[in-house]
């Protein structure tokens, strides 16, 4: 009689285990801490892990298939298979065990994916904010103070950058391959992404949502500059803007 409860107990234990894996991965990511999570590193780490995971599964299934194909090839004409008659227990075993294995793997990856997701979607307090308006077919960036630039986003290196975006005509998607991130910009909605240029340098921006004829030419770049160079660039642009308004 007691044996009946075994599956139930193992199911419970399974969820408890899964739960702890969630909890521990949440702990590792302390939202309140001041150090900035590195999503690019997180991406590379998780990507590697997932690739290993699916390669192992894939190679295992492929090898089993090849083994069966060779071992059970027809050796004489008219030969029939020798089907296995599964007992009741075997039927359930062949269902429950794979289901558990698949679900355990799913939950394990899901937990990690979720915590990386949190870091992707939680811009640090200290982020520098830039507004983006996309249109067919260009990117317009607006900095605090009203300075605008087209297709070139200048940012201070060493600071997390938060881009808030919308679109004036159709949907575009701000895609920054180097920072492993993208987000759609849409008319009537405001969306965001953030990234962390640790060093100075240039990075490609390109459009990832089909937007018509010039979709593939909607490229731009991010120029990460030293903080003081950025400040002086912004100040001079600001002065030019003032002068223009005064005129």
């Amino acid at each position: 009689m007691r044996r009946r409860f075994y599956p139930l107990i193992s199911l419970l234990m399974f969820f408890v285990l899964a739960g702890t894996s969630f909890a521990s991965s949440e702990e590792g990511h302390d939202l309140a801490s001041s150090d900035i999570p590195d999503s690019v590193e997180g991406f590379k780490h998780l990507w590697r892990e997932v690739m290993i995971d699916i390669t192992v599964i894939g190679v295992f299934f492929a090898l089993v298939t090849v083994y069966f194909l060779i071992t059970y090839r027809r050796k004489r004409p008219g030969q029939e298979g020798r089907p296995v008659k599964l007992s009741r227990a075997a039927v359930f075993g062949w269902a429950i065990i794979p289901v558990f294995v698949f679900m355990a793997d799913d939950l394990y990856l899901g937990a990690q994916g979720w915590s990386l997701w949190n870091s992707y979607r939680t811009p640090p307090e200290s982020s520098y904010e830039i507004q983006l308006q996309s249109s067919m077919w260009s990117w317009k960036f607006t900095y605090p103070g009203g300075v605008e630039s087209y297709n070139e986003m200048r940012v201070p290196a060493g600071k997390p950058i938060l881009v808030r975006m919308t679109s004036s005509d159709t949907i575009h998607s701000l895609f920054i391959p180097d920072f492993k991130v993208k987000e759609d910009s849409m008319p009537g909605r405001i969306t965001y992404l953030w990234f962390y240029p640790k060093e100075t340098g240039e990075h490609l921006i390109t459009c990832a949502e089909y937007c018509g004829m010039m979709h593939s030419s909607m490229a731009g770049k991010i120029i990460a500059m030293e903080q003081d160079k950025f400040d002086s660039w912004l100040a001079s642009e600001q002065a030019a803007l003032k002068a223009e308004e005064g005129a």
Binding site: Y72, R73, R189, S216
Partner: protein, 529 residues
């Protein structure tokens, strides 16, 4: 085919006014293969364009029309009609022991609606301003576009009516027209799979119909469903679209799996491994879960964060029923007596392609990883492996498998196998290298990639593979034509299958059997006893 004039007229009349499920099925097949040929030609043109940086053979507007046509025609005109039109119509009555479908006239109606859809889709190449809105047709672009979006809407609507009529018809057929003794517990896997696919079609096609009607109303009648400046919302469409189109990939996958199950059982002379779990857990599970994952296409679309996380979990969980089906297919090989005829080669090829395609779905399901690879060529490689190519392998394998039965001719085994080998090599060169091009950052739907010229060699390799692939399909076409004109007459049951469709004469006449078979002691997978 008689030579006299009256003979030709009679012949045409017999086919055009036919309500016989087998002829309806074959006419579906002809239409869907025509769509496949034209859309395949588009694919080759697309690959040539991408083979070098800068404009190669055309301009962006024409390129976008090709790409639109390729996607829409392959899914709506080739795969869905080949599977739910040809295979389902031709095969289900034969497998359940019925003389025809439940509503033969309705069946003819859905066939001719489908043909209207095919003709409408082909008109893309003659009208001015053809649509350039991609198969997804997201607004606002589909509304702002100078192209004739209405073409898309009406093609979808007509094909949708055809699908709904077909779904009602075949679900009724499966429930009420089974031969005496043909109990649920011993139906062919193909019948189960198709039942699941039709249930999904009936629930979700109307939603796609609604969505495409709304874009045409916005564009031509001045409504503002998707216009934020007038209180509309652009994301509404994407939700409606994927609410249908994610299940749609399972509408394709389920019959595809069904064909593979049946081919594998026949050529391994073996029972389906763990039949009940495959049916209730695998096929039932896919049917249930496939409606709850659509947001995985919208991970980068600014949906609320919580729903993007929830649908990450449901997407991952779909690997459970899919895994059960794969386990069952591979398990059917165990202790079998496997014979490698052309259909079986395609089935084996399917297993490998599907493994690669399915497993690369896992990183996409993880929303944080998808923020990078979404809308890149990585996605294109994923769905070509899992749906486009694996699905086509199942369709081509299925055509070879049933070829002797529906044409009455045998095909040439050497030509068939040669076609398989060349196609399999071509497919893997094309789409495996496409994973790398995509992971290097190449976005989808790009006419050019001047900003990442370093990808040119990768693109070259993809295009090279595509040419091999095309040669493979041409060999297959030659083998079919060769068989039609010079094939030997086929026996009733060339594969020694135990399944009911092989008990008919070849090709099966009107009414399928002289007497409806008694299935009390029948088992479609009764091998080995």
């Amino acid at each position: 085919m008689s030579g006299s004039k009256g003979g030709v007229g009679k012949f045409l009349k017999e086919w055009i006014f036919t309500i016989d499920h087998k002829r309806v099925g074959i006419l579906y097949l002809i239409g869907s293969l025509a769509a496949f040929a034209v859309a395949g030609l588009m694919a080759m043109l697309i690959r040539v364009e991408l083979s070098s940086v800068g404009p190669t053979i055309t301009d962006p507007n024409t390129y976008n029309v090709w790409l639109y046509f390729h996607g829409a025609a392959m899914i709506l005109g080739f795969q869905i009609p080949a599977l739910t039109g040809f295979f389902a119509n031709w095969l289900i009555p034969l497998q359940i022991g019925a003389r025809d479908v439940a509503f033969p006239r309705l069946n003819a109606l859905s066939l001719w609606l489908f043909w209207m859809g095919i003709i409408l889709a082909l008109l893309t190449f003659v009208v001015p301003n053809p649509p350039d809105i991609m198969w997804t047709a997201y607004p606002p672009y589909s509304i702002l576009s100078p192209g004739n979006t209405a073409f898309y809407s009406f093609t979808v609507l007509i094909m949708g009516f055809a699908s709904i009529a077909g779904g009602v018809n075949l679900i009724t057929t499966i429930i009420y027209m089974r031969a005496p003794g043909m109990r649920w517990g011993k139906l062919n896997m193909f019948v189960w799979c198709t039942l699941g696919a039709f249930i999904l079609q009936l629930i979700f096609v109307p939603i796609l119909g609604t969505a495409v009607t709304m874009i045409s109303m916005d564009k031509y009648l001045g409504t503002t469903f998707f216009s934020p400046t007038h209180g509309g919302d652009v994301l509404l469409y994407q939700n409606l679209f994927w609410f249908y189109s994610h299940p749609a990939v399972y509408v394709i996958l389920l019959p595809v799996l069904g064909i593979i199950f049946d081919i594998v059982a026949t050529f391994a002379r073996n029972r389906i491994f763990n039949y009940k779990v495959a049916v209730y857990g695998g096929i039932g599970g896919i049917t249930l879960v496939s409606g709850e994952v659509w947001v995985h296409h919208l991970y980068a679309s600014g949906m609320p964060n919580w729903i993007r996380v929830g649908m990450m979990m449901s997407t991952l969980l779909i690997s459970v029923p899919v895994g059960l089906c794969v386990l069952s297919i591979i398990g059917t090989l165990y202790r079998g007596a496997i014979e490698f005829k052309t259909p079986m080669l395609y089935a084996v090829g399917f297993i490998f392609l599907f493994l690669i395609g399915g497993l690369t779905g896992i990183p996409l399901a993880l929303n944080s990883l998808d923020l990078y690879i979404h809308d890149t060529h990585f996605i294109v490689a994923h769905f070509h492996y899992v749906m486009a190519v694996a699905g086509t392998f199942s369709i081509v394998g299925g055509i070879y498998y049933f070829w002797p039965k529906f044409t009455g001719k045998m095909y040439n085994e050497t030509l068939g196998k040669l076609g398989f080998v060349v196609t399999f090599i071509g497919v893997n060169i094309t789409f495996f290298s496409m994973f790398f091009v995509g992971f290097a950052g190449m976005p989808r739907r790009y006419f050019d990639y001047a900003q990442m010229p370093q990808l040119e060699s990768g693109h070259r390799l993809v295009t090279f593979g595509a040419f091999i692939l095309a040669v493979g399909f041409l060999i297959t076409l030659v083998s079919w034509l060769h068989s039609l004109f010079a094939g030997k007459p086929a026996p009733d049951n060339p594969w020694g299958s135990k399944s009911l469709e092989w008990t008919t004469s070849t090709p099966p006449g009107p009414g399928n059997w002289a007497e409806v078979p008694d299935c009390e002691n029948f088992d479609p997978y009764g091998y080995g006893e």
